[in-house]
Symmetry: C2
Subunit: 150 residues, 2 copies
DNA sequence: CCAATATAATTGCAAATGAAACTAATGCTC
DNA sequence: GAGCATTAGTTTCATTTGCAATTATATTGG
């Protein structure tokens, strides 16, 4: 089935808002905290998962490829924000572990980044639009997850 | 001001739905038509603009950087989908022009791509959610545009 | 009118990316 | 418990990207 004009318009707006906001936020984070948005994402995911994740869990959480995670962790480890730790229960495995410095850096950046989310995104939406985004996109994401799991 | 939990959730869902759907759609387009999503985007924008755009207009329409446009057009010209044409009214300028082959390729790919948009996105949204996405994100994009224009 | 400045597009270089090959350890089956 | 398939993670290679510098043309202020 073909999408209606409104579905198409909504999809294009989602694409455009993502591109504009993501690049603006990346720019702001680099400017203010010398932290790429990708790094912020990794720090955030680690932090909300108790500070340690296996590489493949990090990949699933951030939606970066395994390859990408390997190299993000490389660079972030060089910058002292995370550490690698071999898994004791599975000797193939590696944990990415948030360091205290990484936690500090995240805390420092979180304030202005959250402000950015509000300023660039939240400020322009009505409560019922936010609710609609949340419920609708949750279903979209869910369906995509199931598809990917196949 | 800090975003409320629902704003934050909505933002994260927007990020996640974009990543999942864009990569799925890119994959499907390559699979079925050997056409990266970026190329589709360029063909689409050219087509909806009468088949010819100055490089900087293409950049504004697609939100790819000027550099990126130069090189996308390079590769697509090598594949015969577009042509470069020096602008007669401004000799610095270059038009990217859709070729008949490019138009054909777009037409061929559009069908399955539109199906994808419906299947992955539209099918999971209620009419009022689509309307909310459309109106809300239009305001978000607008605000971001004005900011960028500064 | 012409020097200074701005704009259009490309290019060189360093960094980031993705797919597929590779290494190592585990699990599964007979 | 030996062999085969699977899973975890990294690495290699070719491609892509982004920033800053470059080239060429247009515009503007004195």
């Amino acid at each position: 089935m073909k999408p209606s004009g409104t579905v198409l318009a909504a999809w294009r707006l989602l694409l455009e808002s993502h591109r504009r906001l993501a690049s603006q936020m990346d720019h702001d984070l680099r400017e203010a905290h010398d932290l790429p948005l990708d790094w912020y994402d990794v720090l955030h995911q680690l932090n909300t998962s108790g500070g340690r994740l296996r590489m493949h869990e990090l990949s699933a959480a951030t939606l970066f490829s395994r390859t990408d995670c390997t190299r993000l962790v490389d660079r972030m480890a060089a910058a002292g924000l995370v550490e690698r730790e071999r898994a004791s229960e599975d000797r193939r495995g590696v944990y990415a572990v948030l360091t205290p410095a990484g936690k500090d850096r995240l805390r420092a950046a979180a304030g202005s980044h959250l402000d950015d989310i509000q300023r660039l995104f939240g400020d322009h939406l009505r409560a019922e639009e936010i609710a609609a985004l949340e419920s609708g996109l949750a279903r979209v994401v869910n369906a995509a997850e199931n598809l990917a799991a196949t």
